[in-house]
């Protein structure tokens, strides 16, 4: 119950204001189609430089939580999921809004998000210290394999093509090696003066997540499409509260599936929402009502996508393996403050770890309160014209990248990586494994170097890196993630072929 003693930190004026700002801002950004939670968190990182690590993480955590929930607003009112995690929400949420139950849908969505989110964070609170203590037994060889596992898991599970996912991871690992190697005194892959100091993670994150979205908005051209929002009649909040208290089945399905899926690195909120929706439909006596504006579908989807937020941070905070692309960006936010996940975080910086986790708990409650009262307002902002959004995100990305080290070199890196990623994404490559490679590359290399030194003094690198229960377990996990992905790609290919043959 160590976490209870750090609750005071959340209510310090600056920290609470940041939590409030992050929550409201996140709700608005989340409600805006085209602005993903990952991009929102990446754009916020430059602002955390001027804050303490705790305050910075509070801001990022609040934005992460509320952008996922805010995405439900546009899913319900505009039928455009604000984030991939809200795809399942649009199925019944929009139908409810069209049936004149927009306010009811919004209330149920935020209430179920809040309940799922609180349970997810409680899971985070109780699982992280256990896993962090377990991580204490890790030596350099295990940490090396953990870093490789992080890249391969996200590379193979988060991409449509496992070859391209792993290739993206390799590109990220290579990018992490650019610059001057302080340990061995060598220049590596420095093709331009802007790269002498290596690739700045924050500039890279902004470029990889924000610039492709800006270019996607440019790609629409001078389109005159007007998004019609549905009018929202008023609904008594108490009625919604009573209704959610009677929705135990869909809430528990959403929360359980969301939490489990959140714990699996690389799977993400989109899968959580869709799996929970599907399971809620299977268990419901009113299956036929799903898709026609049935609140059970909405509740299951929304409780799942927010329940996964807390558990997705468990592997991140304990083993440095982010559970989702947004968690990968959070890892970048931790590392720039000189804080490394695992036992170091909980033993040497408990105030940072626990205040951050507690803030996520309080953030869930704030998210419900502000979500309900700002939803229709946020939907109006979400209808901001695409050219304004494109120009605003572009300028914010330029300023954000420049402000990291007050260097134009970072702006060049940001834009080059962003434009490159836009084209790579068109051919099935994915930003998440690339970012993981970039973040985990230095961790993998430094542990490989330290491990090699130890190995040379003992029985050689093969025995040091390849033997021992934990090493073998981690190697098996690395291989299993790759082979599972290879197998599911093959199955998917076969299914597509047989579909093509029958049609």
């Amino acid at each position: 119950m160590e976490f209870l003693s750090y609750f005071g930190g959340v209510f310090e004026p600056t920290a609470f204001l940041l939590l409030l700002g992050g929550t409201i801002g996140g709700l608005i950004l989340g409600a805006t189609p085209g602005l993903s939670p990952t991009m929102a968190v990446a754009l916020l990182i430059p602002f955390t430089f001027h804050l303490s690590p705790t305050q910075g993480l509070i801001l990022l955590g609040a934005a992460y939580t509320s952008t996922v929930a805010g995405g439900a607003v546009s899913a319900i009112l505009l039928k455009i999921p604000g984030a991939p995690a809200n795809i399942a929400t649009a199925l019944d949420g929009n139908a409810m809004a069209k049936n004149g139950e927009g306010a009811r849908a919004l209330h149920l969505s935020f209430l179920s998000s809040g309940i799922g989110g609180v349970i997810g964070v409680l899971l985070l609170i109780f699982l992280t210290p256990i896993l962090a203590q377990w991580a204490l037994a890790f030596g350099p060889s295990h940490l090396f394999w953990m870093a490789i596992l992080g890249v391969t898991v996200i590379g193979s599970l988060d991409s449509k093509s496992f070859v391209k996912g792993l290739l993206s991871g390799c590109i990220g690992l290579w990018l992490s090696m650019i610059g001057f190697d302080d340990n061995l005194g060598a220049q590596r892959f420095i093709f331009s003066d802007a790269l002498t100091g290596g690739i700045n993670i924050i500039a890279a994150l902004i470029g990889l997540f924000a610039i492709p979205q800006v270019l996607d908005m440019f790609a629409k051209g001078r389109s005159n499409s007007v998004i019609e929002a549905i009018e929202v009649p008023k609904q008594k909040f108490m009625d919604s509260l009573k209704e959610i208290s009677r929705s135990g089945r869909s809430l528990s399905i959403g929360t359980v599936f969301g939490s489990i899926i959140g714990l699996i690195p690389g799977v993400g909120g989109q899968i959580a929402g869709l799996v929970a929706y599907d399971q809620a439909k299977k268990f419901s006596p009113e299956k036929e009502k799903f898709g026609t504006g049935h609140p059970e579908g909405l509740i299951a989807a929304e409780s799942a996508n927010n329940a996964m937020v807390g558990p997705s941070l468990v592997p991140l905070l304990t083993l440095s393996i982010p559970g989702s692309p947004t968690a990968a960006v959070l890892l970048g936010g931790l590392i720039i403050h000189g804080i490394f996940p695992g036992s170091d975080l909980f033993d040497n910086h408990p105030e940072v770890a626990w205040t951050f986790i507690n803030s996520m708990l309080i953030g869930q409650i704030l998210m419900v309160i502000f979500g309900i009262y700002t939803a229709t307002w946020a939907a109006r902002i979400a209808r901001a014209p695409v050219p304004i959004m494109a120009a605003a995100v572009m300028v914010l990305a330029l300023f954000g990248a420049y402000s990291v080290q007050q260097s134009m070199g970072d702006v060049y890196v940001m834009l080059s990586l962003g434009v490159g990623m836009f084209f790579l994404e068109k051919f099935g490559f994915s930003a998440a494994p690339l970012v993981l490679g970039l973040i985990l590359g230095p961790i993998a290399e430094s542990n490989f170097t330290t491990g090699s030194l130890i190995a040379n003094a003992q029985n050689g690198p093969v025995e040091y890196f390849m033997t021992g229960t934990l090493n073998i377990f981690l190697i098996v996990l690395v291989l299993a993630s790759v082979f599972y992905s290879f197998w599911s790609n093959m199955m998917h290919g076969k299914a597509a072929k047989s579909e093509g043959a029958t049609s």
């Binding site: 390799c170 290579w174 060598a186 605003a392």
Partner: protein, 153 residues
Amino acid sequence: MTAFRLQHTISSGIVFLVAAIITYISFTQEPADAFLFPRMIAIFFISLAAWNFVRALTGVAKVGVGLDIVEFKNIVPGLAVMLIFMFFAAKVIGFFLSSTIAFMIIFTLYDPAPLNDGKAWMKRLIVTVCFMAVMYCLFALLLKVQTPSGILF
């Protein structure tokens, strides 16, 4: 060969070329100790890139939507504005002024409102000034970021 397959082949070819260059550099540069980890990664990188290239050549690689010529044409003007800002305007005329101009140009380029509409111009001007004022307050006043001032601002 279809345009889609050709696009996949070209993109996979570029990735393979990059992997080949990295592998060559990793195995030819000294000191060897500093390039030990890059060499390990390069082996996986070049193997995967070669596999990906062969898949693209044989038409197996189909993941991704590819590039649409209309979309590409739409992107070019906006991208050009970004590049001019980055390599020329920011340093010469100043970071704030050039980003204000870049915002205004991008808004105008992609705004469906006609170019001879006075009201639309007024809206563009107001939105640009308001947004850049917020950016100035955030970055210059609050975060004390010192941007290149150039000859103007």
